[in-house]
């Protein structure tokens, strides 16, 4: 009953969408979204190309998020296919393997697909066409590991990274204990226009993807595996459905809408839940993997082959015969594009990735890296002039995160970065929906990128300044303390001398000694304060030191010379001392805890600084998270 009702609703909306296309936004479970022209048939209408071995392969030493690997080969070395040629133990990274046999002819900076457009250290291999290979280079037994650590180890050695965008090393994404992940989501949405490499992969290697998913599922003890595929890939859905027979993997065709393949969006669609801001999907028991990544895992675990090639779409309006290829890492963009019969000379920048989130290249002759899913050759079109924002709100209606892009824009433009941050700019996944719909053609995402980096820079500078200030304060404090201690010693000595003389005269000696000590401490406190303006802080401590010394002295004196001391004064003295001691404790504690800012200096500034520190930490976390999010979206 409910099912027929919802089916009715869907068909009603679909009918209505003929008059009002945006009605389709009611057919899925995240906010906003857009319906661009997909042009997917361009590359799908030509057969998959395999076995291309170019003359030269360029392998940048960093193809992932993390630190750079170090070359393990020298210029002149002959390398074999699958051989590990670069690795590092220094931190988060993924080793790099030779895609085919050949000779290392250079290890030098070369252009790579990177927003900076700078040359980065790369290994250059001249191929010999023999494709001589080391089998099972990862030395696996071919059975499925039963614990996460074993899987992580293989995945790491195979150099597998998230094969969508930013390329977060996959092993680092896997949890260390079984049972943490409740839902494994296979991301076959591929929502970017033009790109069909995942589609092609699903059509041709559905079984490998499914096996890869089963490997991950078994190793991590995952109960539920869902496979999300956009419903414009019917062939892929068929192939995958067939491969999934007799497994408990559920195929879930999802609405074709950009950015369905974003991690947040696909989780919302498939599981109906949101990943809380500042958290990762893993925190809610969800692991999402791209189909290409799963296939790479399958090859690593079962055949012991590392990641040396990937499916890439070579497409674009400037190409006569776009195609998909299983390309070796290191193959040149330009070479691949030239193979697709360009309609006009490619003297314009190619784009790595899709038109929505891709990146225009500064230099076209760059290599395919682990994260390259598409080489896009769209000849430049005249760009509409940018008009002022008319506040129409199209951008807001399109934002999948439900941000207010127009307000973000106004404040970014005016450099009001605190407001921008309050509007949650770090939750923006830079999907580009807002820019896509803006009738004023404002490059909104560009503004957000700029705002993000500006905010990060401000925070960074603040943190540095803060540190410097702390150091300075600490130094002043230390100097003052030393001085105070010195003074205290002198005062104590003087007082002792005084006391001696006083005692000989009167029996109330110890009382007067206490008074003297107190006076001395007071005096010294004032002195310390006047000497180094800010150091009133130390008064309590000084006081304590002085009093303690005094007490010791007094006790000694009295026990030695005056057996019949009146009780009261001693008690007062002792109490004072205890109190002072306590105060001193309070004073020293914060510095033990690592905050050198004295507590009683001014509680407000202390609080403020704490807040600022917390804010910095939060901002860092956010920044990290947004980087992660972005890469998740790239996974699509």
């Amino acid at each position: 009953m409910i099912q027929t009702l919802s089916a009715l609703k869907v068909s009603l909306i679909k009918w209505f969408a003929r008059f009002y296309p945006m009605a389709k936004r009611n057919l899925y479970h995240f906010h906003g979204g857009i319906f661009p022209q997909y042009h997917k048939e361009l590359s799908l209408s030509h057969p998959l190309k395999r076995g291309i071995i170019p003359k030269i392969l360029v392998l940048p030493l960093r193809q992932h998020l993390g630190i750079r690997t170090e070359a393990k080969v020298k210029v002149g070395d002959r390398v074999l296919k699958n051989q590990c040629i670069a690795d590092t133990k220094k931190g988060l990274s993924a080793p790099i393997h030779a895609p085919t046999s050949g000779k290392v002819i250079a290890i030098e900076p070369r252009y790579k697909p990177h927003p900076s457009g700078l040359k980065k250290l790369s290994i250059v291999i001249e191929t010999d066409g023999l494709d001589e290979c080391i089998d099972n280079v990862l030395d696996v037994k071919g059975n499925i590991p039963n614990d996460p650590l074993a899987l992580k180890e293989i995945v790491h050695r195979a150099g597998i990274v998230g094969m969508g965008g930013a390329g977060f090393p996959t092993f680092a994404k896997l949890p260390e204990k079984p049972g943490i992940v409740k839902n494994l989501l296979i991301n076959g949405a591929e929502c970017e226009p033009f790109i069909t490499c995942d589609d092609m992969l699903m059509q041709t290697h559905a079984d490998e993807i499914i096996k890869g998913a089963q490997i991950v599922g078994q190793a991590l003890g995952i109960e539920r595996i869902l496979f999300g595929i956009e419903d414009n890939k019917q062939k892929a859905i068929q192939a995958v459905t067939k491969a999934c027979e007799n497994t408990h993997i559920e195929i879930r065709p999802v609405m074709t809408v950009y950015p369905m393949g974003g991690q947040t969006q696909l989780i919302q669609e498939l599981l109906g839940m949101e990943v809380p801001s500042e958290h990762h999907a893993i925190d809610v028991g969800v692991l999402m993997m791209n189909v290409a990544t799963l296939r790479a895992i399958y090859h690593a675990v079962i055949h012991g082959s590392p990641l040396i090639s990937r499916f890439v779409t070579i497409s674009g309006l400037g190409l006569e015969e776009p195609f998909n290829a299983e390309a070796l890492l290191g193959t040149s963009f330009l070479e691949l594009a030239e193979m697709a019969a360009p309609k006009q000379p490619i003297n314009y920048p190619l784009i790595q990735g899709g038109p929505m989130m891709g990146m225009a290249l500064h230099e076209n002759n760059v290599p395919i890296i682990k994260t390259t899913n598409c080489v896009l050759a769209n000849p430049p079109e005249p760009v509409e002039p940018v008009m002022p924002c008319i506040r129409c709100g199209e951008c807001m209606d399109a934002c999948p995160i439900n941000l207010l892009p127009q307000q973000l824009y106004w404040h970014s433009r005016n450099h009001e970065f605190d407001r921008v941050e309050k509007l949650k700019v770090f939750d923006c996944i830079e999907c580009g929906c807002c820019s896509f719909v803006c009738p004023s053609h404002i490059p909104l995402v560009q503004y957000y990128r700029h705002a993000k980096s500006a905010i990060k820079e401000i925070k960074h500078k603040e943190a540095i300044a803060k540190l410097a200030q702390k150091r300075h304060e600490f130094k002043l404090e230390r100097l003052a303390r030393e001085k105070a201690e010195r003074d205290a010693k002198i005062k104590a000595k003087k007082a002792a001398v005084k006391q001696k003389t006083a005692q000989s005269a009167s029996t109330k000696g110890s009382a007067s000694a206490a008074a003297a000590a107190k006076a001395a401490a007071m005096k010294q406190k004032k002195q310390a304060a006047s000497e180094s303006g800010t150091e009133t802080v130390l008064s309590a401590r000084d006081n304590a030191i002085a009093l303690a010394k005094k007490r010791a002295q007094a006790a000694k004196d009295s026990s030695k010379k005056t057996p019949q001391i009146p009780h009261k004064p001693t008690q007062v003295t002792r109490q004072k001392t205890i109190e002072a001691d306590r105060q001193m404790d309070k004073n020293t504690k914060p510095s033990e805890a690592g905050t050198e800012v004295p507590k009683d200096k001014s509680s407000t500034t202390d609080d403020a600084s704490k807040r600022r520190a917390a804010a910095i930490a939060a901002a860092r976390q956010k920044a990290k998270k947004s980087a992660q999010k972005q890469e998740d979206l790239h996974e699509a």
Partner: protein, 341 residues
Amino acid sequence: MIQVSSPFTHNNNSVRKVMLNVQLAALPALFTHIYFFGFGITIQWTLALITLLVVETIMLKLRNRPIWPYLTDFSGLITVTGLVFCIPPEAPWWVIVSGITFAIIFGKHLYGGLGYNPFNPAMLGFAFLLISFPYEMTQWTLPTQVSGYYLSFIDSFYLIFSGQIHSVPLDQITGATPLDEVKTALSTGVTVPTSLMSDSFNAFRIPYGWAAVNIAFFIGGTWMLISRSIRWQYPVGFLLTMIILSAAFNWFDPETYAPVRFHLLTGGLMLAAFFIITDPVSSSTTPMGRFIYASGIAVLVYIIRNWGAFPEGIAFAVLIMNMFVPIIDQYTQPRVVGYRK
């Protein structure tokens, strides 16, 4: 120029297209208006357009802005539409000219041009006219069905430019608007149902001409909703509030408070609902905020219509709500994905 940063594609919408769409949507109302009130409005429209072009060009020049792209964004046309339908079709030529001039200069360019004006320019212009020329602004041409006269184009032309006409007696073709009529009648003790029986109303007790123009606006507005030139929150919030208010008061005391159909189909109500309050620049930008903004205007319109000094309160209602926009925006921020509900 080459796009340097993603996205590299666009849905090909543009400010110009949005504005042209709004113009298109105003056509049914324009034709209806011509049918009932004569050709006066076409003359007013032309006058308004010429004024717009001249004033905008001068202002852009003064502000050192490129003239061509800003003239051809057609955003000024919205102001023209909003204002032209609000003034009497046979008002003297200087009324519309000064109204447009004021609207464009004070409503738009002095605040920094398109996108920066806090007040709705058309309504600013209208308020200016209402205060400056109260007499001219209330002398509405009566629909042919009421006056029995049909003004030809030439008649209208003469009337607008010379202020007189010989073929027909002036006092017979102009008069108060139905809104004005009912309000004035009420103040002299005539109940609403009695006023609704007067000559200005047809068999359904809705005003001749006015009702049709309002319905035409409604049709055009629906087209704008479908083509996404305007957001649904505006008309829905506005009309819903208007219906609820007028129904409630009419139920409470039908003698003093006019029925729903009267409120919906007189004056510039539909014009306001679809063409005026939908001006995104001067309204709230959050979805909830728009709804509140639109409802607020409806409440104010109802209050001014019933208890205010002016027969029609749309201009003042809009201007007042314009002032609340920053506050509404601040308190209606939508929940961002990943934050607690």
